[in-house]
Amino acid sequence: MRSIDSRRGVLAGIFGATLALTACGGPSESAASSASSAVRISAGVDDCGKGWASPHGGRQTFELHNTTVAGEEVHLENAATGALYLDVESLGADARQQATVTLGNGTYRFVCLPSDGEAALGAKVTITGSKDVAGATPPLKPVTRNELIPALKSYQTWVRGRLPVLQTQVQQLETDLKAGDLASARASWLAAHQTYETLGAAYGAFGDLDGAINGLPAPGKTARQDHHLEGFHRIEALLYGGAPASDITPYASRLVRSVSDLRSAFVSGRVDPVDIGLRSHEILENALEFELTGRTDAGSHTALATVDANLTGTREALEPLRTILAERYPDLAATERALDTSQHLIRTFQGADGEWTPLSALTRSQREKVNAQIDATLELLAPVAAICDPRRTS
């Protein structure tokens, strides 16, 4: 079921980087040596980078000392390309922090970025004559807030375009219930819930409105027992638990109102550029934690439908980042193929009639396959947030 690239991506790609520990004399020895041999670097505004006396290739530890009176961020960059080897954030006034890198030949410099001022550039330092440095720290071309804004805008435009669809679907649910047509109501519920689950509301992205729309029952209670619960899961519990349509209708009407509140909130709401990178792996982390454990199921047994929607949502979050990632993430193609493979696998559990197989009906080996495929995809998605973490350059 898994494509060849998830193998490459996970076993060769990630692990290729993870595996080889560099043998050394022993833990206490190297701890001692790095403490004593750390190169002390001043990271003030006037003396940024001072102290890098005898530059050499290989693994080395710097002790960065913030000599200013405020918080600071310190980079070690490639002086020619601006790509970063180190990014020490939140260094307090007068604090010292050690950081280790492995450098080959090249021209480098420290950049000191006080929280309240402009970047100070350190002197350029050139390393020559080091041959075949093993395990050199790979540089990262930093991603700025400004670069992320177009991506964010395009993601928001997509989300905004889905909200009217969601609204129509929840209205249909309300109409079905008012007509007493429970079979249609179930179909409408699933369609609306899937749409919502593509929107990447994971981890509080929609604030309190997510609680009203897609909240989970209070600890120790089921969605049926929790009378304070509203939204999709409350409706699900009633719809699949034998309640009469008239008991469910008021919840559907409330859901219609919450969705329209979300539409207005989303127009005025601002999203932080940091969110977009996070979103592209958090949606699926959420699916693994809550859907593939069956925790959110309130009776519809449609966890796999939710995972399918979450995969769609992940692709949509990743899509606007492609240009940024293309030059920074060698496993981008493998990641996209893993998402394809995942979605293909999940959809094998949807019958021709559109019915989804309940999670509990999967055999042990089917469930292991699903978990393994989503796990592998998550490992590939993990670097996206690290790369798209907005960094200052000036």
Binding site: T18, L21, T22, A372, Q373, P383
Partner: protein, 411 residues
């Protein structure tokens, strides 16, 4: 202090109390090492060589901590399976050696969980990889490569097996001097192989320090491991532990071993309510000293010739059934390497603890199964309940830095 034939390198400085000299590798067999040291620094650089004719974690003296993890392979082709074994090999090789995790830069999360700090100590880590019968089903075309005796563990008469915690395509037996070391290894291995295998069941165990001397005690209070065959006797190990190709065994099994794991719950509250006399009769040994009832010291050999009708050691005592000391029984001996486990509590407030019975044997049928059958309905069964585990086959060792686990099985 005891001599440990498997130790190949160790930082002398640690043993000598932290002198400033750099780490010195000490030639194999020339090092004295504390069996279970208390401080982390005593054992941090204690290293078992990964490569060898046999895997480590079999003859290796039991380290203090173990993690048993059974996994199912989710790789979907033979090529992916090969990748999986290569990755397990390279990860295990690297972890057992220790060192500094690679710096993958700002574009990725850290390459190591950091659980053991910035420099990973070897800390006596061994990772023993074994295969279960289900790996030889139709998925990878390995049916005709299956070790002849390997099969799904059967239910024995007194068993209460929960199949959710039995069997598995693979078993990793991860042992080390500290629990953070074994759990770190487990996390790094599962991360490195994500997508290609899934954990099926898992159980952590510990090996108690001598109280006050002799073999480590199990949670029934008895010394356990006393009557094991000597691991220093290579020809004995060849007869009892290492499987050989030929006969009905396939050509790749040389140097491997049948690896039996049985998760056995002890009903400790019930056990603690019976008299010492009854406890000692059930095993046939003294609780405090570990001596057989026919002898006076732990390592005295039980004298069944002088006790033919079981006046001293009853005929159905655990040790007498397990090893009646007949000529026949000699060939049935197994190498036990169990760990105690602590698993929390039951709904009724009883404590869940017991033994992760583990043994290695050259021939599952001739050795383990024969003994287990003889133990059916022994008096001990009222106080224990086997609920999980499985039969596995510990792969032959990794010969050199290019070799990998399972190479001879898969190529």
């Amino acid at each position: 202090m005891r001599r440990d034939p498997e130790v190949t390198g160790v930082s002398r400085r640690n043993l000598l109390g932290g002198a400033a000299a750099g780490a010195v590798a000490v030639a194999a067999g020339s090092t004295l090492l504390p069996r279970s040291a208390s401080a982390a620094t005593d054992t941090a650089s204690h290293q078992y060589a990964f490569e060898g004719v046999h895997q480590r974690g079999i003859l290796t003296p039991a380290q203090a901590q173990a993690s048993y993890v059974a996994l199912d392979v989710t790789a979907s082709s033979k090529a992916e399976l090969v990748d999986l074994f290569r990755t397990i090999t390279s990860t295990a090789r690297s972890l057992t050696k220790g060192g500094t995790p690679p710096d993958t830069g700002l574009a990725t999360p850290p390459s190591d969980s950091g659980v053991l700090g910035p420099v990973v100590p070897s800390d006596g880590l061994t990772i023993t990889t074994s295969v279960g019968a289900s790996l030889f089903d139709d998925r990878f075309g390995l049916a005709d490569r299956k070790p002849a005796r390997l099969r799904r563990m059967e239910d024995f008469p007194n068993d209460d097996l929960d199949r959710a915690v039995c069997d598995g395509d693979l078993l990793l037996q991860i042992c080390g001097h500290h629990q953070d070391t074994t759990l770190h290894a487990l996390r790094e291995i599962t991360r490195a192989t994500r997508g290609a295998m899934q954990v099926r069941w898992r159980r952590d165990g510990f090996h108690s320090p001598p109280r006050p001397a002799g073999s480590s005690r199990n949670l029934m209070g008895f010394r356990d491991g006393t009557a094991n065959p000597s691991t220093a006797d290579a020809s004995l190990m060849n007869q009892l532990v290492w499987t050989r190709s030929g006969g009905d065994e396939p050509d790749w099994v040389d140097g491997g071993s049948y690896h039996v794991v049985r998760q056995i719950r002890m009903l400790v509250e019930f056990w603690d309510r019976i008299s010492i006399r009854e406890q000692e009769n059930i095993f046939g040994r003294r609780r405090d000293s570990g001596a057989p009832l026919t002898g006076s010291k732990e390592h005295d050999v039980p004298d069944y010739a002088a006790d033919p009708s079981g006046e001293v050691i009853q005929m159905d005592a655990h040790i007498r059934l397990a090893n009646p000391h007949t000529a026949h029984a000699k060939k049935q001996q197994i190498l036990r390497r169990g760990y105690n486990y602590d698993g929390g509590t039951d709904a009724n407030g009883n404590l869940d603890m017991g033994l992760i019975f583990t043994c290695f044997n050259a021939d599952l049928e001739r050795q383990f199964v024969a003994i287990q059958k003889r133990l059916a309905d022994e008096p001990l069964v009222d106080y224990v309940s086997p609920f999980g585990g499985g039969y596995f086959f510990a792969l032959p060792g990794v010969r050199d830095h290019q070799d990998w686990l399972g190479r001879r099985l898969l190529t």
